[in-house]
Amino acid sequence: MNKEQIEDIIRKYDNHEGRILGILEDIQEIYKYLPKESLEFVSEKLDIPLSKLYSIATFYSFFNLKPVGEHIITVCMGTACHVRGAKDILNNLMELLKIDVNETTEDGKFFLTTEDKHFSLNTARCFGCCSMAPVIRVDDKIYGYVTIKELPKILKTYGWKSK
């Protein structure tokens, strides 16, 4: 953990509105999850109990408390995507990535990582691209009109190899 980096983030939020979530989000932007030491550091700096930071990190689905894979695949499970087959897309991705449905993380969030830590898979409520349903996001890129057929092709551009 780079203390200066986190100090910079904290300094950026001179405004009290939205400060705590903002800081945690910026930290996650760097590490893709919230490292324990970073939470301890923020707790000390801002004089907020560590337990409170943990309860925030568990309440909001955006935060990850565990390290994640190199690429994060997020499947939209919103209404428009649901009626256009999001469940099949998710099941297929789990098959392709060999991730088991019954695994969940400790805090009950759906966030699964492949054994080689190359991919993490999770779900979201809606990206606001409902007209392009079904929609998935890989890292920052959103893919619309996804089909089961082209999933392997998308995965391959992120270094996936069929086993």
Binding site: E17, G18, F62, C129, S131, I142
Partner: protein, 638 residues
């Protein structure tokens, strides 16, 4: 520079107009809201940038989104003296053809329509040119014809990242009028008179809310823009912020002046990074011109706006939970009263409105409350943007006057179900709303009418469902959502919904019992009447409406263990029609569990081992010969 006088504003307007409607140059703008980008708009933009490097005669910009999602990516080509052509489904390979044929542009086959003139409403109508005689005008297309663009007055035309273009189309002239010519009471009078009702869900009259906030005496007051847009399937707020962010900002500054607030906060969901980026850019631009900050327009009024990000919790769209979240707390609703107008953010008077509510404000101030009442109907004036998605042909954003019948939106704008299917219902209002069957499609859309059939207006999500949508599964889907999103504070919502979900899961698995229907009805009533916040109070609506209008589907699942829409996994099977099968073995190769066996080239030998099949649907999708069929106790898609 700072804008202080009308001359300053006019000067910027001229600068902006030169960019929007250059006199000698062609202007190409690519639809680059998140939606357009997700289907390749960014690649088109990059290709254009590359190809236009040495072209002094063409200006390249971005624009937002006109809501015509079905045919994205869109590219607008403005040719001076002639007008704007809109190209649809543009791919990078089309770029060369477009820029090399500007003189015969209207002959290219992927022109969908033209814009000859456009009413930006806050300015005089702008004539872009009337030189393309053979191309249909945008408002002649079936998709646009029934629409009335008030909220989306600039979307997909101006560059949302350039404040000058917003000013060019009359932006900030309402703010000018408000600060220079009107008192706060006069503004509130107009907003009350307009009959504008909150666009975030409940439809509370905006003017009355402002009046309450104004009456409160306090050293500091806050104003919040609710940009949490939690309803999955609704994305109009995203588009409004990405395509015309200044209209939100302008509305908020006027609101701040009317109520006497000094500080505005936009609470935006984390899933919308581009909207956040454009809002921040808009805030910076407004500060630069002295439209935010100290002594706005030289009037002595101080007001500033900051952005606060959400982190993925649906309940944070509820106003008291939202306030808790901004304060850095877990987003749990707090009992009302006290209402935010009395004790809101940090215990101070706070006024919260939805994104779309704010974008209506400049219109009302500029044109007057009576003008606004000229749209919509008596109880629900104005327009509403609906996100029409799901099983219709023309998915997209449809802005219609309130009071427009549901069928106009679904059939005229939406073009009905895709691929020969029939629409059987629309779901409005998201997890708090209900499913409205076709027999009510004559109903004019307004707050009261939707409530009268058990649904709500909500934020404007409208998901069409056809024969292939299972209504029991739909109810289960929404409950799964609300169970997940319940903050857990009160028992009926936390436990009651869980129990309802459990019953629905059993039904979809074929383990339903006849008495389940009665139990669901009772539980719905209890949760509705005893929950603390809107989430719990409305969460049973999807169950109540599907039970009421589609009981036969529940009975099919319970009595016959059959899912007529072929959706519920436990009740369906995949089979191969050996008469159609060519034995190509593509399905066998793609089946993740190796459930399919057969001899290559011998269609009559291909079979699915039901014990191995996990019903993933891959074989159905990859078979080119329609040889894979889905069945459920005698019903099939074959």
């Amino acid at each position: 520079m700072r804008i202080n006088t009308l001359e300053d504003l006019k000067y910027i307007r001229e600068t902006g107009l030169k960019k929007l409607k250059p006199k000698q140059k062609v202007r190409i703008s690519v639809g680059m809201a998140t939606c357009g980008i997700s289907v390749g708009g960014d690649a088109v933009f990059e290709e254009l940038k590359e190809k236009l490097k040495n072209r002094e005669d063409i200006i390249l910009t971005k624009t937002g989104c006109i809501g015509f999602c079905h045919v994205e990516p869109l590219v607008n080509v403005y040719i001076p003296g002639k007008g704007i052509l809109i190209y649809h489904h543009v791919q990078p390979k089309d770029v060369e053809k477009i820029i090399n044929n500007l003189d015969k542009a209207e002959q290219l086959d992927n022109v969908v329509c033209q814009i000859d003139k456009w009413d930006h409403i806050t300015s005089d109508e702008i004539i872009y040119g009337e030189g393309f005689t053979n191309i249909p005008c945008w408002n002649e297309l079936k998709f646009f014809k029934p629409q009335r663009k008030l909220v989306m007055r600039n979307s997909g035309i101006i560059n949302p990242e350039d404040i000058d273009e917003y000013i060019a189309v009359g932006g900030y002239s309402a703010l000018f009028k408000a600060l220079k010519e009107m008192t706060p009471d006069e503004i509130i009078y107009e907003v009350k008179g307009s009959g504008l009702r909150g666009r975030g869900g409940a439809g509370f009259p905006t003017g009355i809310k402002w009046e309450l906030a104004k009456k409160e005496k306090s050293d500091i007051k806050y104003l919040i823009c609710n940009a949490d847009e939690g309803d999955p399937g609704a994305y109009m707020n995203r588009n409004e912020m990405e395509s015309d962010p200044h209209s939100v900002i302008e509305g908020m500054i006027i609101g701040g002046y009317a109520i006497g607030a000094q500080k505005g906060i936009i609470y935006i969901r984390a899933e919308y990074p581009l909207a956040l980026y454009r809002l921040q850019k808009a805030i910076d631009g407004a500060r630069h011109y002295g439209l935010l900050g100290k002594n706005i327009l030289g009037s002595g009024f101080d007001f500033d706006i900051t952005i606060s990000k959400g982190a993925g919790a649906f309940v944070c769209g509820e106003e008291t939970a939202l306030i808790a979240s901004i304060e850095g707390d877990i987003g749990r609703p707090r009992p009302r009263p006290p209402f935010p107008a009395q004790k809101g953010l940090w215990g101070k008077p706070t006024n919260i409105n939805n994104v779309e509510t704010w974008t209506n404000i400049p219109l009302i101030v500029k044109k007057g409350g009576d003008w606004f009442r000229g749209f919509g109907n008596e109880k629900s004036p104005g327009t509403k943007v609906f996100s029409l998605v799901g099983k219709v042909e023309n998915v997209g954003l449809a802005e219609v006057e309130l009071g427009t019948p549901i069928k106009t939106v679904v059939y005229n704008i939406g073009g009905g179900a895709s691929s020969g299917k029939k629409v059987k219902a629309v779901q409005t209002g998201g997890p708090s709303g209900g499913c409205i069957p076709t027999k009510f499609f004559d109903l004019p859309i307004d707050y009261e009418n939707l409530a009268s059939v058990g649904s709500i207006m909500g934020s404007g999500g409208m998901v069409a469902m056809d024969e292939n949508t299972c209504m029991v599964d739909t109810a289960k889907f929404f409950l799964d959502f609300t169970v997940d999103e319940s903050c857990g504070k009160c028992v009926p919502c936390r436990e009651g919904l869980k129990h309802m979900l459990f019953i629905l899961e059993n039904i979809t698995k074929g383990n339903g019992k006849e008495e389940d229907i009665g139990t669901l009805e009772e539980l719905s009533e209890t949760v509705k009447t005893t929950s603390l916040c809107g989430l719990g109070q409305t969460a049973p609506n999807p169950v109540i409406t599907t039970l009421k209008y589609f009981k036969d589907e529940y009975i099919e699942h319970i009595n016959n263990k059959r899912c007529p829409a072929l959706v519920c996994t436990a009740l369906i099977e995949f089979e191969i029609d050996q008469k159609k099968c060519t034995g190509c073995s593509v399905c066998a190769k793609r089946c993740p569990t190796k459930a399919i066996e057969g001899i290559l080239g011998k269609g009559e030998t291909f079979k699915i081992d039901q014990n191995k099949c996990i019903k993933c649907g891959t074989c159905l999708e990859v078979c080119k010969f329609d040889a894979v069929i889905k069945t459920s106790k005698g019903v099939s898609n074959g």
